[in-house]
Structure formats: C-alpha cells, structure tokens
Symmetry: D2
Subunit: 126 residues, 4 copies
C-alpha cells in the first residue's frame, strides 16, 4: 500500500446507517442515542462478544462461527458491535469509510512491512 | 421495516477486509490474528474510544467529532474499532452484511415500534 | 463454602475509597465523577489492560507480571481498574465487600462443585 | 497526600483472593483461569455493568444503586468486576494493594492538585 496514493473506497455502511436512523426515528429513540450512551452500548456488545470466547480453547475459538453451539451468538454479537459503531459514527457525523482509509494510511507508515515482519514489536526491546 | 421481506444489502466491507488481510500477510501477522487476540485488540480500541468521552459534558460529547481537540482522535478510534471488527469477522468466517441484516430483522420483531416508542423499556416495570 | 453460612469479610477497600475521595476533592473533580463517566473511565482502563495481553502468547501472558517488559504496565493497569471500580462503587453508594459476599453465595448455588467440575458448561450441550 | 511518604495499606483483598482460589480448585477450573481468559471475563462483566447505565439519564444513573429496578444488577456487576479483577491479579502474582499504593503515588505526582483543580485537562489546550 502506498501511503501517498489515494486509496479507494474501503467500506460502504450507508444502507445500515440509514436503516438504523429509521429504526431509531420510528421508536423516538433519538434522545437516547447520544455519544456517551452509544459508547456504553458498544461496550456492552463487545462484552457479550468477549463472553463467548472467554473459556474457549484456541481451537474452539477458531471454530466458534461454525460450531452450532456458538455460531448464532458469534454472528449476533459481531452484528451488534457493528450496529452500534455505525450508529455512533452517524450521530457524531463521522464518515467511517474516510476514517478507515486515513487510518490504513497511518498504519502503513507506522508499521513498515520490512521492519515489523513477524513481530508486533509492542513491548519488544528495540 | 417488514421483518418478512428480504432486506437489501446493508454494508459492504469487502475492500477493508481485503486490505486488512493483505496488511497482515505482508507483515506475517496472521499467527497473531486469532479470535481471542483480536477480541482483546477490539477491547483495547473501544477503551481508547471511551477515554475520549469519559470526562466530556453531554454537549462536548455531541461536538467531539467537530471540536479540533478531539476530532482526529474520534475518527481514529472509530476507525480502529471498525478495522479490528472487520478483521475478526474475516478470521472467524462471518459475513458481516448477512449478520447485520439478520440482526436488524430480529430487532424489528423484538422491539415493535408501537410498543417501544420513546422508551428503552429495559428495567422499566411492565 | 456453605451458602447458608454467614460469610466473613472478603475485602476491605475503605483505605482506597477514602484516598480516592480525598484525591477528587482536592482537585474539585467530584462533578466529573458521575456513574456514566466512571464506567467509561473503567472501560478505558480495562482496554489498556487488554492491550498488554492482545498479542502475547499464552506462555508470555502467564509471565506478564514478572517479565520486565510488561510488569510495570500490568501492575499499573490492574491498579487503575481497581481505582475506578472502588471510586464508582463509592459514588453509587455500594458496599463492595457486601456485594462480593452476596455474589459468592449466588455463585456457590449456581455452580455446584459436583456438577461443574472441569467444565464451564457455557455452550456445552446438557 | 505526600508522594514521598510511605502510604498505608489501601486495600485488603486476601479473603476474596483465597475464596476465589478455593472456588476454582473445587471445580477444577484452574486450567480455564489463564490471564487472557480472565481479561475476557473481566471485559464481559464490565460490559454488563455498562448495559445497566447505557440508556439511563444522569439522574437515574446517580440513583441506580437505590432504584429497586437496577440496585441488584448494579451490586452484582460491580461484584463480578471485582471478582475477576482479584482472580486475575492472583493468577498473575500481582499484589493489588502494593499496585494501588504505587499508582496513587504516581497520580499525585502526575496531577498536582493546584494545577488540575476543576479540570481533567485531557484535550484542554495548555
């Protein structure tokens, strides 16, 4: 990835953004949907996602979306995190595609492939 | 929203999914990207998002994405949550668009507009 | 543990509770310390704790508090979670010792040792 | 608080630490209780705590531990966060009292009362 090149569209969340806006409007839920409340709701969903994995072995974790005991819960919780993230970005007026493109460019500069190959480097000695 | 009707495409995250896969492959980071690690990374980013808002007033929270003191951090942390969410879904083999469509249908049944208007009802007496 | 027996004192956090109250008072930080803000702050600290472990192997995770690369961060983030938890409980007027004793009794009833030996049972088939 | 003075004992969590160790031993749960799993469990409980507050008004949040609709849930989730935090610290071999004392000293140096009075200063212009 060349950080100087313009990057193409990475995500399109506008259908979900509009569906969530309509869903909230139909229920008069807009007053509840301020940023702090939505961050707390996002935290709640990430917590439910974490609960699925907390006692699973690495092998069971890798298979969690195909194992019938956990597959539905995995899909539901990933979806819930996405729903609140898209709603939060909308309420804040943030374009998630533009934000993701900018962050990918930053990451490409921050973690040059040749220097970070095979290492997360965090907490590694220099 | 009619829960019995097929719902159209809500999100398209494939560009980001592919970009993250390539980013990890170029750095040999795939071994780090197992579900538990990615959930922990997602938690870390949600934590950074929460830190932006923790001491802000409701008014300052609403303006966080336009206030120059917080705008860049808000965009970056929303993007980071999205990046890890899309990477986690990819590693697990979950189609986020299908999961979001299924969850929106479930929510439409669970929260009928006429019964939940203006109330989250959670912890309300029946 | 006999759930019918009165359980002794499990934690004493009053020294920290008083120190945090004085710390906030000396800085006029009480107006910031409402429950939602403190939950967000707690989330931020749990996120920093998660970041320490996110890319560590199981072996490195187990040694994180003795490895000089991570030991200080582990102690600091565990402490920060405790600080905000104790402050949040204080602001809400919750006695953490009583709450912990009640929860241990509930857990003893919910997870009888003979039936849950060696299994978290969550997502296990009955 | 004088950062150069030795600080007294701030918390005593040893009763709970020992009770949790016995609880895990009686169920052969020690293999599940590695640091990553316990961080994920802690995240799950913080998520449940956040869910209590997510749609509450500031006034309802402040009264959450006395309102009969939420009081039990508030006590339970605060306790659960404490339980996993104490168990995690034990598994890692961290003395929470020493860690809390060290962190309070650091905070006293980092946030001098006279300079931070009435301001969290984070994201404030200097």
């Amino acid at each position: 990835m060349n950080p100087k090149e313009p990057m193409q569209h990475l995500v399109d969340v506008d259908g979900l953004r509009a569906a969530l806006e309509a869903f909230a409007a139909e229920r008069d839920w807009q007053p509840f949907h301020n940023p702090k409340n939505l961050v707390l709701a996002l935290v709640g969903e990430v917590g439910e996602l974490a609960e699925i994995f907390q006692w699973l072995s690495p092998a069971a974790s890798a298979a969690a979306a195909s194992n019938p005991d956990t597959a539905q819960a995995v899909r539901d919780e990933l979806a819930d995190v996405l729903l609140y993230l898209v709603r939060l970005a909308d309420v804040l007026g943030v374009d998630l595609d533009a934000a993701a493109r900018a962050k990918m460019r930053t990451n490409a500069v921050k973690y040059p492939a040749e220097r970070f190959r095979g290492s997360s480097r965090k907490y590694d000695t220099p």
